[in-house]
């Protein structure tokens, strides 16, 4: 492991309150600014120390990262606009880490956030990319729920999972959410209530689909010498467009990225204390955990058992399914939660011990399923 003072580490996090119905004066920039201030305070870094900025947002347009730098009043030698959706957090971290270690910047603010009114959300999902605009929106497909309903059907056929199995996963995340004051849905849920809930797109019910919220997240990456209670990035791996959309979507890019990820970390799945898996849908939680090797024999039932028994602490914020999905902040939400766990800041839901965390990112539906996948292994430095 690099232990030089120039090693890039995560030094602090911020997250605004997530809200289902934002007021008329809530803007994307105002949320990003609030998360940024909180992260700088949490990291003990001054506003004037920031010399790098990365941002991911679906609703920042027509502004870009440079407009945001202006509005936040930061002068930067390193600037990044990211458009990788659920994989944006780790994509920005992958680049920011190298920028700090190479000396292009010393303190980078990584931001993501969105305010998406129903009409803006509809435009976003209908014009997500040209393939969606041309071949899915005319159906209409109504957004990603129908595509992941079909993917979940395929996973059920391949694995023998039933709706109640996904329900157990959703209930487990809601149980974590009950201990997170930042989650928008905190009332405990039973599998019976899950099975009786309204369907959105068979077999997915309302509890399988992320609640869209307004909110923003922030992470500060800086040199180790500048950080208090730093979190080390032991490894970070990605594989995007792994199968050209020619597969069935049940294997992500993590399947091929995992061996190098663990090798660079010098660790394996058994060493991990707490995990954040990008949970746009329960089926993708399982797919990514299998791809990362958390159940070596691919036994889905045993994996679900480990999650519901808390033998494996997964999505301790409640995940996006219960905490909410603030657009492009969905990926950064998990990185914030894992950093909080490693720094002992996850009040009421702190995992003990929390030395090693795994975070995944997944997303950007190209046609039938996500085209981006990445993961990081993080370590608390004493």
């Amino acid at each position: 492991m690099d232990s030089s003072p120039n090693e890039a580490v995560i030094a602090g996090t911020g997250e605004t309150r997530y809200v289902r119905r934002p007021g008329p004066r809530t803007t994307t920039v105002s949320l990003l600014a609030r998360a940024a201030r909180e992260a700088l305070r949490n990291a003990g870094v001054r506003h004037s120390d920031v010399d790098g900025l990365a941002v991911a947002s679906f609703s920042l347009a027509p502004d870009h990262a440079i407009d945001l730098a202006w509005k936040l009043g930061v002068r930067v030698s390193w600037l990044m606009d990211d458009a990788s959706g659920g994989a944006s957090a780790l994509n920005m971290l992958q680049h920011a880490r190298r920028a700090v270690e190479a000396g292009d910047a010393s303190t980078v603010l990584i931001l993501a956030g969105d305010v998406l009114e129903p009409s803006a959300f509809r435009r976003l999902v209908d014009e997500y990319n040209s393939a969606t605009r041309d071949h899915l929106a005319p159906l209409p497909h109504g957004g990603p729920n129908s595509l992941f309903a079909l993917l979940t059907m395929r996973q059920m056929a391949e694995s023998g999972l039933k709706r109640s199995d996904y329900g157990r996963l959703v209930v487990a995340q809601r149980t974590w959410a009950a201990r997170n004051p930042g989650a928008v849905y905190r009332d405990l849920l039973t599998v019976e209530e899950y099975l009786a809930a309204d369907l959105v797109a068979d077999p997915l019910c309302i509890y399988d689909c992320v609640p869209v919220v307004a909110g923003a997240d922030a992470v500060v990456v800086t040199r180790r010498s500048r950080a208090r209670r730093p979190v080390r990035i032991r490894s970070l791996g990605a594989l995007h467009n792994a199968d050209d959309q020619q597969g069935n979507g049940l294997r992500t890019g993590l399947k091929e990225a995992a061996p190098a990820l663990w090798e660079h970390a010098g660790l394996g799945p058994d060493d991990v204390d707490v995990v954040s898996v990008y949970d746009d849908y329960p089926a993708m939680v399982l797919a990514q955990l299998v791809d990362l090797g958390f159940t070596p024999d691919g036994d889905f039932h045993r994996l679900i058992g480990a999650i519901t028994d808390n033998a494996l602490s997964v999505n301790t914020s409640g995940g996006q399914l219960s905490a909410g999905q603030a657009g492009a902040a969905g990926g950064l939400h998990g990185l914030v939660e894992m950093t909080r766990q490693l720094r002992g800041e996850a009040r009421g839901r702190q995992v003990e011990p929390a030395h090693i965390a795994a975070v995944t990112g997944y997303g950007m539906i190209l046609y039938r399923f996500g085209g981006c996948a990445n993961a990081a292994i993080l370590e608390r430095i004493r």
């Binding site: 071949h135 109504g142 129908s146 059907m153 056929a157 050209d244 020619q246 046609y367 039938r368």
Partner: protein, 102 residues
Amino acid sequence: MSAGVAYYVCRSCGLAVFPSRALCPRCGSASWLRRVATSAILEDATTLRRARGRQLDGPIRLGTARLDAGPAVVVRLNAEVTPGTRVALNTIGGAPQALEAR
């Protein structure tokens, strides 16, 4: 309405894709043949019952149709066709449809 669904075959290596690509993911060629599939096997199906930001006229049936050449196409199902059966393909307003069993 046009009969069938257009897909693309690489002139160089024969890989079939849907939707179109600029370069062939297998061999890097930029030269494609346009082909039309008039039927496919329906692999899976769902019923969309609600969608954020829009009012649906009623439930919408959607599914995955596997072309004989290989690619999978997301289609609208307008009849009571069931997974595992062969369906006839058409394109209406850019939207691939599986109207009936074939």
